[in-house]
Structure formats: C-alpha cells, structure tokens
Amino acid sequence: MGDLLQTLITVISVGSLYALIALGYTMVYGILKFINFAHSDVVVIGAWTSFTTAAVLLPRLGVTPTEAPWWAAAGVLMLAMVVCGLVGFCVERFAYRPLRGAPRLNVLITAIGVSLFFQNFGQLKYEVLKPDGPGKPAMSLPFGAQPQGMPRLVGSRALNDATVSRGTLAGVDGAVVRLSEGVSLEERRQYSIRVTPAGAPRAIEAMVVAPAGRYEPGQDLRVGFMPAGAAPGSAYALVRSARVPIQLVDVAIVATAGLLMVLLQLLVYRTKFGMAMRAVSFNTTTASLMGVAVNRVISLTFVLGTSLAAAAGFLYSLKYVTLQQTAHQGWVLLGLKAFVAAVVGGIGNIQGAVLGGFLIAFVEQFGARYISSDLRDVYVFGVLILVLLLRPTGILGSTVREKV
Amino acid sequence: MSRPILDIEKIAIAFGGLKAVQDFTLRLPTGGLYGLIGPNGAGKTTVFNLLTGVYTPQAGTIAVDGTRVEGTRPHEIAAQGLSRTFQNIRLFGLLSVVDNVMLGCHVRGRHGLAGTILHSPRHVAQERAMRRRAMELLSLFDLASAAGEQAKNLSYGDQRRVEICRALATEPKVLLLDEPAAGMNPQEKKELQALIRSLRDRFGVSILLIEHDMGVVMDICERITVLDYGETIAEGTPTEIQRNPKVIEAYLGTEAA
C-alpha cells in the first residue's frame, strides 16, 4: 500500500514534468505540423540556465542558494523562461522560418540539426568565470561537458515528516552526538537530526545512522556527519521521515506545472490570440487573409512552448539535482518520453499532452515497480504503439478523414 | 434489354446523423451515358465514393457486370472495372504524365518480384506494352507532347484530361466522371463534351457523370438522376428533368437555360 502511494506520487510529479515538455511539442506540431526534435534541448538550456543563475549569479548577489527565499527561486524560474523564450524565438526565426512551406521532412532534418547544434555547442568549453581561488572549480558557462549539482532552492524535506523530539545537544564528538532527551528509534525508519548552530540562519540536517532501539538521555547517537558549528547547546530537532514521504519539491513541481498549464489553457481557448493560433494551425494563408499576423503568432507559439520547456528544465533540475551535460542520454530520453506523451495524447491537442504526460509516467513507473525495471522504456514505447494502433491519432487527437 | 453493366440497388450511408445518401438506385446499361446532378451537398460525390470503395455502403448492393463489389476494397473494385476521376484533381503531381497513365495500366498487369528485378521476358514485354498503350491514349487526347512533363506543371484543363486518360488506362467497364468541366471556360467545355461522347464509342465504356453545367449535362446525357439531400428526387431524360418542377425548385432555379 505504501509502495503504491509512493509510486502514485512519483507518477504525478514526473507526469507534470512530461506534460510541461509535451505541451511544447504539441503546440509547435499543432501550428507548423512538424516534430520539433530540438525541443528537448531547450529543456536542457532551461535547466542549465537555472543552474547558472542559482549557482553563480545568486551568490554574487549575496544570496546563498540553499537559503534562498522563495522569490529567488521564482526569479530563477522567470529568468530561465525568458532566456529559453528568446532561444525559441531565434530558432524559429533563423532556422525554421526560412523553411516555411518546405517539405516536412526537411524541417524535421533542420530540427535534428538544431538539436545537434545545441547538444554539441553545449559541450564546448567556456571558462567565462575563472576559478574563485584554489580548490574552487572554474564555472563553465553556459553549459559545459561536466555534470553539475543544482543548488537546492527548495528544501529537500518532506511535508509529512514528524518531529519526534526536540532539545539541545548535550555533546558533539565528530559524528556522534548526545541528545538532551531520550528517544526510541523504530526499525526501518529514517531519522534525521536538524541542528541549528548558534548564529546560523537555518538548520543543518544530518542523517541518523545509529541502529534502532531506545536511546536514553546522555547516550551516544551516531549520525552521518556533524557539520562544523554544531556544538553542545545547539538546538536540535529529531525528525522521523514518513513512510510515504511527500517531498516539498514534488509539491512545488505539481503546483508550478499546474499553474502554467491552466494559464496556457486559458490563453488558447479563451483569447483571440488562442483563436488565431488555432486558425494558423489549420491554414496559414487563409489565416493571414483573416487579418492574423501569422509570423507573430508562430513566433509567440514558439516562445510559449520554449518557456514551458524552460520551466520543466528548472523543475527537473530541482527534483533530480544532477545536471548532466547537454548531449547526455538522460535529456534525450526525457524529451523522447515527453514527445511520446504528446503523441499518445493526440499531438496538436493541448489537453492531450497533459493526459499523455500522466499516462506515460503512470505506465513507466508502475511497470518499473510492479513488472520489472528492465523493460521500462519498452512499456513506454509499447503503450505508444498500442495506443496508436487503437486510435491512429492519439487518445484525444481529432480523426478527420480527408474528404475525397 | 441485357443485364446492366452497373447495378446499384438502394445504397445508403450516413455520417453521424447526416444521411448523406439514402436508397440510391441506378441501373446503367452497357454503353450508357447517364448523368447525376443535384444541389451542392446533395450526395453526388458521396455516391461515387460509395461505388469506388472509399466509403463502405451501410446498406444496399452494387454490382459491376454481375459481380457484387460493395464492401470490397478500392483497388479490387478498380480491378472489377470501375474507374473514376476526382472532383478536385488528384494526379500524381511529381510523376511524369506518361507515368501517371502507365499507373492506370498497373491493375491490368501481372507482377512478380523476381521478374521485376531480373527483368524477366514477361516483365519487359509488359513494361513496353504499358508504355505503348499509355502513349496511344495520350495521343488520342492530344497530350503526347506533354508525356514527359511532370503532371503538376500542366494547366488545369490538361490535368483534367490526363485524369480521364489515367482512368481509361485501367480498362474500365464503367467510368465515373466527377465534375469534369469545372473550372473550364465555355469554349473548353465544348471540346470536353465532344471528347466524352467519343469515349463511349472508342472504348466501349459506360459513363456516369456528375456535372453542374447544365449545358454539358443536358447535351450529352441520355438519362439523368437528380439527388437532393441524399434522396433521389427525379429520374428521366434531359427533357423530362428540365421540366420537372421539383428539380427546378431544388436545383435548376428559374433562370436555368
């Protein structure tokens, strides 16, 4: 039961990410009828922009990333969205627009070209910021071939953790602490201790590695490590993690993604711009005869799609912390699965993309958990093929037959 | 009278709630040249689509020269001897004109992979025969000089004629023409009329024709069926049709010639 819930939580959070990325594929496909294979690379740019902002820019502004207030995170997200929007605009303007009206396969190849360009351009080295003194590595900007760890802008704690005891440290000896209160540690539960060293703005968390059992006051308790600054007298809280933890990051992801999706939905179905977008997607020439500024609509669609991708990149890096280099298989697979989601939902259809995102996440996670993790990608592509065979244009795709 | 070459008995189809064609019945005798008219959206093209297997009739039967074809696939129907042109020209635009017509011959050929790749005698002979026949047909339509041209580069009127050529290349028993005169000016229409008439004599095909130009229809058709809202509202000779008040009301209008 716990496992089931856990897997469901993952499905929802991963599904939101897939959905966000799938939206970009779907919008571009809807309007220009081609698969924008470079879309996943925009996700990468979004993630790396977020990283650069958070790890390089914030400290220079005097904000410690791990203690950043929520608006700093929002700022990072905004910046990433703006940068990627710009990238999307340029790509459309300089790579795709000259090909308007060319055979679709050509545009597809161009998209592959753009994708290869981003992947490989990102691997060239830019040592823009020199090492900050010995021991500090040079920052590679904007990407780099070396993986990086994303600063944790959102605390890595679960909402449903329970504080089981509070007090002051009676003693610290390396990675062994003495608590002022007695505690019982249950089997197979994770405990961590949050210590606030005097003068520190925020608690530091360390994992308890002591075996389960009853610990009397004054008895030694082993923890993973105790950072400098923790001294006898520091306040602590002993936290027991939930069996099915609901991570703050996941909540942030679902909330942000949900908000963006609702906004997009409103934009497309409730505004004139949305109407223009749909008209352009059906017939560009006629749309222009109706007074629609076609190029502007297409540009804006790209900008929208890429900024959603940026948001996905940002959220993704918050969740998974590791930022792989630009050509890494992880990004490619992420893009591919999101793309599959868009197709399964019915490419060109906005609700379809969201539905597909969750469906793919569901199949992937439950398959990996309850069947076997070996064939994880097979489930995804298997579902793709199955859905297409049953409904050749995806679940919500419109099935218009050509009139003869 | 002998058995009709095309025997359509009460076919029907509905799209969702829309009854596009209902109880459509028509018997086309061998060598006949019949017309099908009716207001826009009456279901004329849909009848052609039902006959050629693009849509499957939800009721009724279709027999070509005694063989039932309803429910079979389009290429099988073509092989049975039913061929058509399209309301919006559907040529193979990037292929040459002669290739377009040779493609019509395809259905009458026999093809084996080994023969094709190894250039077996039968294959070589067949290829030559197809080319020769295609060129003969094109010459008949004064199109021989355009044989090497890509089909999409031809003018509209020429494209229409290539379409007819291609349909004839399948050696059809029945030829279905969907608005062949659309987009032509009166002069061109006159030429087309003569051409259609000659088809029957030269190729022995029977023809069913959809056309909005009453000049053309009344002039060349022996009998005419009128559709409105998917239903047959009249059937008869051109003169009868022209006088039929129902037809005048639904279709011809008062000013019709």
């Binding site: 496992d3 856990q6 897997t7 993952t10 991963v14 490989n120 691997q123 040592e127 020199k130 090492p131 010995p134 021991g135 500090k136 590595p137 040079a138 071939a145 070396q146 993986p147 990086q148 760890g149 890595s156 679960a158 990675a175 197979r188 539960r189 994770q190 968390e205 360390a206 994992m207 590695v209 993973g224 490590f225 993690s241 069996r243 933890p245 991570q247 993704y316 998974y320 912390v321 590791t322 792989q324 280099q325 050509a327 890494h328 298989q329 992880g330 990004w331 490619v332 697979l333 992420l334 996670q365 439950f366 990996a368 958990r369 993790s373 070996d374 994880r376 990608d377 | -």
Partner: protein
C-alpha cells in the same frame, strides 16, 4: 610463428602490413610503425570528447595531457617531445574503429591510448592489434579487452577483481544480504554487477533483489521502493557518480538508510557535491584516495587542479597513469617499433602510478591493489587496501 587464422579483413586480400593473428605473438620489430629516431613521438588518443559520455573522455584527456606536458617539460624521451594526436569517438563504436584506423595507419602513431568504455576499446583494439601498434586502455575494465591480442594493455584493474573486492568488503562488514541496482545499458555497470554477484554468492551471501536502470534514467523511485521491500543490509550500485548521487538522494528520501557500495565509477568530487549528505557513510572501491598522503598523489592533485581548476576524478588519474606508464616503457624499449614497445610495456613491474603500484601480468592486465573508501564529511576517506591475490 603459428598461423592461427588470417587476415581476410579490412584490407581484404591485399596483404595487410602485418596481418597478425590477434591472439598470436607479433614478432619483435615487425610493427608497421617505424622509428624515425627524430622529430616528435606521436601518441594517439581516442576518446569520447563529445556525445553522451563526453565527461569521461574529457577527464581522461585532461589527465593524459598533464602527463604529456610534464614529460615534455622534463626533456621528453632523449630530447624528443611527445605530440598528442587526439580524436573524438562521440561515444560511438563505429567512430572508434574509424579513428583508430586513422591513428595507426595514417598518423602512424607509436602507441594508442584509449578508450574509457570497454565496448569502444573493443572496437579500436582489433585495429591496433592488426596494425601492430600497442594500445593502452586507461580504464576499460572488461576482461575481454586485452584478450583481443598481445598489443593491448590496460592500467586499470578488471571487473572480476573489483567485484571480488567489493564482495569481500561487504562480507567482512558482516552484511549477508545485498541488493544490486545497476545500469543495464552500460557495459561497465552490467559487468561489475555480474562479477559482484558471482563473488558475493560464492562467499555465502544472498542477493535480495536485482534492479536495473538505463543510462539517462533520473527517477529511481520504482527500483528503490522495490529494493526497500527486500530489506537488504547494503545496496551495491556499480554506476557512475552522477547516477549514484541521484540514487542516494532518492533512496534517503524513501527512508532507505542502509549504506551504499560501489565501484570506481563513483570517483569524483562531484559525488559529494551533488549527493550531499545522502552519500555520507557509503563505500566504494577505487584506484586511489585523494586523502592518501603519498607525494605522487598529492603532487598530481595539486598540478591537475592548477591546470584545470578541478579536482581530478578517477578517469583523469587513470589517463595520467596510462600515459606515464607508456612513457616509462618507451624509455625502456629498444626502439619505438610496435614489437619493442609492446615488450617494454609488458615488462612493466612495480610502476608507481597515482592509482597504485602497477605491474602488467601475462594477460596484459594491470595487477594493482584497490582501496576501499568511505564518504565522510563530503570527502572520501581511506578504509582499507585490498591486494590482488
């Protein structure tokens, strides 16, 4: 020389320069590289400088560049400088075959260094072998690599050894059940997982569950929840540090507190940087430890940091060692002929590298100890040394 097969291959019937039977012995002096005795000595490197595995190739490249720089600064080989000819494989086996062909046949390098990934080394090795040019792989741990022929060497230990080391360590810690989580798309990971399992079962341990992931997977919740229900005493994760850091974080979030155990793929300063407290208390086997006071190691770390602004990872260290071992052999070799150089490399004993003291055995593999380190306070700390039997 025994004929064990022949040369109907790339060149077809045209007699290849030296169509040696890969497993046979290439006679001394019959390599196709001729020592001109002057001008720079060309050494080739093929590695994935771009593509999915760019991280590895670039680290290796930096390591061996440092070695070359040092060697040249110290006067080179009797005054002759070493020139590096480096080609990118994009992490693609076909490309690897092509660039090695180019290195040994067109560029006429004296020796080839590379690849990190065993499958790419396996693509390049037959080409080098056929051309009679020695090849030293810095970090391909698949036993098959050096079996390609007598020209192929390596400076790292092999999977069975490392698997054995990890299994023994786990057993000695009193762990009886271990779960394995490995990257099924990586030869390295899959190989090590197999060897560990074999060794651990042989020692009487049980494997409570075997889960896999693919290169590029970022979400391991499903596998970890499955592992959690098996209740193992340790989790063996023979993967690369980027994945491991993620796995550790997710494991901790799921309340999996048992120590994690891994191999040399973990070795990078990024492990602690990314993994943070989640990797605390985990163990891995490695070629060396950063906290080893040995001057060779500390010297290397200092110079590497000064040059590249990074803490060297295991691949950089192996690249460095591979190049240095090669130069040391060059100095001993009668000439730079493929055969002579091969003999010199094969005769390497007790070479003091950053990654341990290396001797080349008759299978052309490096015999060297492994160390076990523990992550403590964000640093790998020395725990034990395991010597090959």
């Amino acid at each position: 020389e025994k004929k064990e097969g022949g040369g109907a291959s790339a060149g077809g019937e045209r007699p290849a320069p030296k169509a040696a039977a890969p497993r046979g012995q290439t006679p001394v002096g019959e390599g196709n590289t001729y020592d001109t005795g002057s001008g720079p000595i060309k050494v080739g490197h093929f590695g994935s400088l771009t593509g999915p595995q760019a991280t590895f190739g670039q680290s290796t490249s930096q390591g061996l560049r440092l070695a070359i720089e040092e060697f040249n600064a110290a006067g080179g080989l009797n005054g002759r400088q070493v020139a590096l000819v480096e080609y990118d494989t994009k992490g693609d086996a076909r490309e690897a075959g092509l660039v090695v062909t180019r290195l040994v046949n067109s560029d006429k390098v004296s020796a080839v260094l590379g690849e990190v990934a065993s499958s790419l080394s396996l693509a390049g090795a037959p080409v080098a072998q056929q051309a009679g040019v020695p090849m030293v792989s810095p970090s391909s741990t698949n036993p098959r690599v050096t079996e390609v022929g007598d020209m192929i060497f390596r400076v790292c230990f092999i999977d069975p050894f490392q698997g054995q080391v990890c299994a023994t360590f786990a057993k000695e810690r009193g762990i009886s059940t271990v779960a394995i989580l490995y990257d099924q798309s990586q030869a390295y990971s899959a190989g090590l997982a197999t060897e560990f399992e074999r060794a651990f079962v042989k020692l009487g341990g049980t494997i409570s569950g075997k889960q896999t992931y693919n290169e590029g997977d970022q979400d391991f919740t499903a596998q970890l929840t499955a592992i959690r229900s098996g209740n193992p005493g340790m989790i063996f994760i023979p993967g690369y540090y980027t994945d491991v850091a993620n796995i550790a974080i997710q494991a901790r979030k799921l309340g999996v507190t048992v120590p994690l155990l891994g191999g040399d793929g973990w070795d990078s300063s990024k492990l602690a940087e990314i993994g943070g407290t989640a990797v605390e208390g985990s163990f891995y086997s490695n070629h060396y430890t950063v906290d080893d006071p040995s001057p060779v190691i500390q010297d290397f770390i200092r110079k590497y940091r000064a040059k590249f602004g990074q803490v060297p990872d295991g691949l950089a260290a192996l690249g460095y060692d591979a190049a240095r071992l090669l130069f040391e052999a060059m100095a001993r070799a009668r000439s730079l002929h493929g055969g002579h150089l091969r003999d010199a490399i094969a005769a390497t004993r007790e070479f003091h590298g950053v990654t341990g003291t290396i001797s080349i055995n008759d299978k052309r593999d490096a015999v060297k100890p492994a160390v076990i380190v523990e992550m403590k306070g964000g640093q790998p700390r020395y725990v034990a040394t395991v010597n090959p039997e």
